[in-house]
């Protein structure tokens, strides 16, 4: 049985980007999202540039042919939230799709943990909304 933690938090010092305020205020995190997108590309996977979604900077990767998005959102200076989500419409609940999602989380956890620009990386489960029970890696095998 595998337990996944698809919400992350970390600290990072990236140059402060300009916040767009034309119609919708874009939150901070574009530079961080760009860095993570390039990190995924270096790991050998296709990943698009980030764009601003409903509330976060999101970049879609084609990981083993499945579309998986990560989102970055900065609330306080130097502190960022991260979430990961499978974007497929019909088949995200299949065991094979879940297996690939777990592999993506393992890859992201490894890469983030190895990159010294990201500090205090911790992960949380869906149910831990208040982020009270952090773990060090996004996948745990029982």
């Amino acid at each position: 049985m595998v337990k996944v933690y698809e919400h992350g938090e970390f600290e990072a010092d990236f140059p402060e980007e300009t916040v767009q305020e034309i119609d919708i205020v874009e939150s901070a995190g574009r530079n961080v999202a760009e860095a993570i997108s390039k990190m995924i590309q270096r790991a050998g996977y296709e990943c698009g540039p980030p764009s601003f979604g409903d509330f976060a900077w999101e970049a879609v990767a084609r990981f083993k042919r499945r579309p998986i998005v990560f989102g970055i959102h900065g609330v306080e200076p130097g502190e960022f939230h991260l979430f990961v989500k499978d974007l497929s419409v019909f088949d995200r609940w299949l065991p094979s799709a879940k297996q690939i999602f777990v592999e993506y989380l393992r890859m992201l956890g490894r890469e983030l943990g190895a990159d010294t620009r990201f500090r205090h990386v911790r992960w949380y489960s869906d149910k831990d909304r208040r982020h009270e029970h952090p773990v060090a890696f996004p996948v745990e095998d029982d």
Binding site: V19, E26, S27, D54, F55, G74, V75, K85, V89
Partner: protein, 414 residues
């Protein structure tokens, strides 16, 4: 189709009149000869010609024209500035749908044209509008009941704050403390009375203006019809919701005076939940969060970047589907702060929102506001777009109506 009220003894109410008129309109249209209807629709879909029917009366007249054997399309006028904007806005979505160059076209391409044509068909528009009117009734009554319950709860919180003035002082910035809000309400009433005293004609002017607003809110024929069936469904649905809430309010009027009086302070208390953690030092942020919500809403069913499976081409789901009101919770009528709080309740991925740089805080955090994501049926209900809930309600309500008709032979719109 059975008429609504041949044997009724009591006078017809306004809601009954509107429902009867909607039924009669649909009945007239559906009685058109199928040959004439298919001919006009087939011609429009083959040539891509748009049927210019800007109002509901035009739709009905077009149906009558077909029934009388005319069967001709009206001349196509040049697009209005609004239509031109809509067409321009539709173009990127079409490009998006056709984007994967060198890959097999996803099978939805021909389907898009079919649905677009269907969406603009006058018969479908009329039927969708009627469905929306009925669909809005129950959510409107639910909305009315929820407003009353929330307002009662909010009023209790407000009274609690009034009884703890020290906590009120510590938690809320100037302008949002209990005495300030009571004072503001009193000032507004006194100011209005003073303006009426100086200019007595203002009262009749305001009464006319309110009468116009009531007409727009409750009469589906007081506003221009939408270009598409989806638009008509939503327009009539909003009117239907107003009918539903009005019906509940009228029914509870003898006991509802207190609830109505609590309305404004209840809303103030709901807003306080989203902003209290920011404390008085961030008064500018609180003022920003009190403005009307501007944003993309929450893509509830399909994510914003949703993709089709590989075996269907793997292309992005068309924007007009992903961004449709059936997929997006739009937070209409809420302030920024209320919308953020609701978003946090229904979306487990939402942490907060950015704030303009000129303000004293960088962002609004759901965690710091102490707002938890809902779970189970509560999350499903609140996280489903209003339009989708209305449509599902109409489908289930329609099935119920058919069952009733089968039993007693009488058609009852609600």
């Amino acid at each position: 189709m059975a008429q609504a009220s041949p044997n009724r003894r009591e006078p017809e109410s306004m809601m009954e009149f509107v429902a009867r008129r909607g039924r009669e309109s649909v009945a007239r249209l559906s009685q058109a000869t199928s040959a004439a209807a298919h001919d006009a629709y087939g011609r429009a879909t083959r040539t891509g010609e748009n049927l210019h029917l800007p109002t509901t009366d035009d739709v009905i007249a077009f149906g009558a024209d077909l029934m009388s054997g005319g069967g001709r399309n009206r001349p196509q006028p040049p697009p209005s500035p609004t239509q031109a904007k809509r067409q321009a806005a539709a173009r990127p979505a079409q490009r998006h749908a056709a984007r994967p160059v060198g890959q097999p076209s996803p099978p939805r391409a021909s389907g898009s044209n079919f649905f677009n044509d269907l969406n603009r068909n006058p018969y479908v528009k009329a039927a969708a509008g009627y469905t929306g009117l009925i669909a809005g009734q129950q959510p409107g009554m639910t909305r009315g009941a929820m407003h009353m319950a929330e307002d009662a709860l909010g009023a209790a919180v407000f009274v609690g704050r009034a009884l703890s003035p020290q906590a009120d002082q510590a938690m809320n910035p100037p302008g949002r403390r209990v005495p300030d809000q009571v004072l503001d309400t009193g000032k507004a009433i006194a100011g209005y009375a003073d303006r009426i005293r100086k200019d007595p004609t203002r009262l009749s002017h305001d009464a006319r203006r309110i009468g116009h607003q009531v007409n727009v809110a409750l009469n589906p024929y007081a506003t221009p019809s939408a270009d598409t069936a989806v638009g008509e469904f939503l327009r009539f649905r909003d009117v239907g919701k107003n009918h539903g809430e009005l019906a509940l309010n009228v029914a509870l009027f003898p006991v509802g005076g207190e609830a109505a009086a609590a309305s404004k302070i209840g809303r103030a208390a709901r807003f306080a939940k989203a902003t209290d953690y920011l404390l008085p030092a961030n008064g500018d942020v609180v003022r920003y969060l009190a403005k009307d919500y501007k944003g993309l809403g929450h893509h509830a069913i399909l994510p914003r970047d949703a993709a089709l499976p590989d075996w269907l081409g793997g292309a992005p789901v068309p924007k007009w589907i992903v961004d449709s009101p059936f997929n997006v919770v739009q937070f209409k009528g809420l302030t920024q702060g209320e919308a953020y709080a609701k978003h946090a309740m229904i979306d487990k991925h939402y942490y907060g929102s950015g704030l303009p740089k000129k303000l004293s805080a960088r962002g609004w955090s759901a965690n710091k506001a102490g707002i938890d994501t809902q779970t189970g049926i509560e999350q499903v209900w609140n996280g489903t777009p209003e339009a989708t809930k209305s449509l599902l309600g109409a489908v289930s309500g329609g099935a119920g109506s058919l069952a009733r008709e089968g039993n007693d032979g009488e058609q009852r719109p609600w």
